[in-house]
Amino acid sequence: MSKLITLLLLSCISIPSLASEAKLENIQVMTDVQTVERGAEALMTDCHSCHSLKYIRYRDLVNYGVDKGKVDAWRGDLSMDAAVMAQMAEADSELAFGKAPPDLSLIAKAREGGASYIYSYLVGYFISSDGMPGNHYFPETKMPDVLGISGASNEKERAEIQSKARDIVAFMVWAADPNGPERIRLGYYVIAYLIVLTTLLYFVKNQVWSRLK
């Protein structure tokens, strides 16, 4: 029976996806305020003209601790409670790229592989030998190589782009789940409380059962 429960538990662990051909570059991202702020800055410059984040309001950024001056610069004369919408109208970008760029609020959760997938995709652009641009992870993508990784001439430039992509992904991870940090912080308290409670319940149980001969 103990074997069975191990097997049952194993079956709950999600089995890694077999979907994409290229192997993802596994990354861990930090969603501390500094990283998220850097990521937001990069995203506002490189992604925001086409992509929206409709579930994020400018106020959410300020509430998380992003510098208010920067947020004011990004929102221009939009309200603090306005959603972060793309600068380009959806119809225009559909005309330009043939496909409306996806909203990015949930993108870190909406792709198999999550943060690692998005990072790998962003730095997965290349120029093939016959001079055609391509992407290892999403060959049919309509998005151009915005970060310019395929044109990077040396290692230093590559590393800079990679660290920028990492920041952008960190921002997206935060945006997909702004309550994530609070959830984890609360989680430690809940687990600690439950361990104490369960230990006490164990003693209660032993105490009660000791009355039996």
């Binding site: 959760k109 959830r183 809940v190």
Partner: protein
């Protein structure tokens, strides 16, 4: 004063005798292991799902234009909405895990045997209700997997003879899964838990009539029964603590591991996801569905794969007590069955290939083969065990059960009440 209040109530309502009969005096075998904890846990998860569900419904909008956004509203704007939602989505998985273990325990220890057939069948009915509730709840976030899962499953009703197409339209309320489907699934997803509560009451009435089974597989003598309260309330609450620790790890640290990534994309009827997978708890049955090439056959096989457990009291013909513990053949079958379930679950998860379909077909054949072989295997095993000589423990169990039966008979003859 409290005594007078209780007296006042007791003259009008059987409060004290109810508590005595069902709790403080309810006889429970003292040898129950922790595997007997899971019925209580299932009851607890049911309450948890109803409680979180009612609060989620206060913020949720059952409208295809609004529902996806309303989930994000719950996740981002509602105070601790993320906690409610993750508790509810994790709770669904927890419910199935607990129920599967509860069923596995019944199968391992032969708790379905006479006189507990009705108890087992009411449980079977509860499993069906739970599956229907989970399936309808999965449509509500209106993500890609919600939409396509509901489309695939409602489409299966096309297999109904004569008016299959009409049945599908009747279920969906439209020619395709749409706003009408979402509204009715929401209404029914709110209704079904209360049907489940009703069915749980029936399940408990049956349980309290035949009393709990126990690892020995026989009805224990009176002296080996102890009151449910305080002994098993104490034990169940300790088990609950352990369960809550595991549950909280999922809720607080890896809640998204139980949500398909594609369900974070709003439903799009124009774009089919690369491969459509149900939630993990449906995967073995889904694999059985897919492994039959003919659709009607697949639906029948899937339905049968869930319902076939109801026949267990008649398929298992052995009279050896002690569940699988003293029955090596049955124990072997039990573990093979568990492994087959996991294999089918994996086959149901991966996109179908020629190899996976073939493995799935073998897995399905094995699944049903076990139930076909069981009547003969259990009888042969019994004969073999008798011939070889039963272990002294089993002999003792059988003898003590005989003695107990005799005692009860004598008591009845004397006309004395138990």
């Amino acid at each position: 004063m409290p005594h007078r209040i209780i007296n006042w109530i007791d003259q009008r309502f059987p409060l004290t005798s109810f508590v005595k009969h069902e709790l403080t005096g309810y006889p429970t075998p003292r040898n129950l292991s922790y595997w007997w904890n899971f019925g209580f846990l299932a009851g607890f998860v049911l309450v948890l799902q109803v409680a979180t569900g009612i609060f989620l419904a206060m913020h949720y909008k059952a409208d295809i234009a609004l529902s996806f956004d309303s989930i994000q509203h719950i996740m981002r704007d509602v105070n601790y909405g993320w906690l409610l939602r993750y508790m509810h989505s994790t709770g669904a998985s927890a419910f199935f895990l607990v129920i599967f273990i509860h069923m596995a325990r019944t199968l391992y220890y032969g708790s379905y045997r006479a006189p507990r057939e009705l108890l087992w069948w009411t449980g079977q009915g509860l499993l069906l209700l739970l599956m229907a509730t989970a399936f309808m709840g999965y449509l509500l976030p209106w993500g890609q997997m919600s939409f396509w899962g509901a489309t695939v499953i409602t489409n299966l009703f096309r297999a109904t003879p004569f008016f299959g197409d009409q049945v599908v339209i009747w279920l969906r309320g439209d020619y395709m899964v749409g706003d009408a489907t979402l509204s009715r699934f929401f209404a029914l997803h709110y209704l079904f838990p209360f049907l489940i509560i009703g069915a749980v009451v029936v399940h408990l009435v049956a349980l309290h009539t035949v009393k709990s089974s126990n690892p020995s597989g026989i009805d224990l003598a009176d002296k080996d029964n102890i009151p449910f309260h305080p002994y098993f309330t104490a034990k169940d609450f300790y088990g609950l603590g352990l369960f809550l620790i595991v549950y909280s790890v999922f809720v607080f640290f890896i809640p998204d591991s139980l949500i398909e990534p594609a369900n974070n994309i709003p439903a799009n009827p124009m774009q089919t996801p690369n491969h459509i997978v149900p939630e993990w708890y449906f995967l073995p049955f889904y694999a059985i569905l897919r492994s039959v090439p003919n659709m009607v056959g697949g639906v029948v096989a899937m339905g049968l794969s869930v319902m076939i457990f109801a026949f267990m009291p008649y398929l298992d013909r052995s009279r050896i007590p002690g569940g699988a513990h003293f029955r090596p053949v049955y124990r072997g079958l039990f573990y093979i069955f568990a492994v087959d379930m996991l294999l089918l679950g994996y086959i149901g998860y991966i996109p179908p290939t020629d190899t996976s379909i073939m493995v799935g077909q073998w897995g399905t054949a094995l699944y049903f083969g076990m139930f076909l072989v069981l009547p003969f295997a259990s009888k042969a095993e019994e004969r073999w065990l008798m011939k070889r000589g039963l272990p002294p423990q089993v002999e003792a169990l059988i003898a003590s059960e005989e003695k107990e039966k005799l005692k009860i008979k004598n008591r009845h003859r004397k006309g004395g009440a138990a």
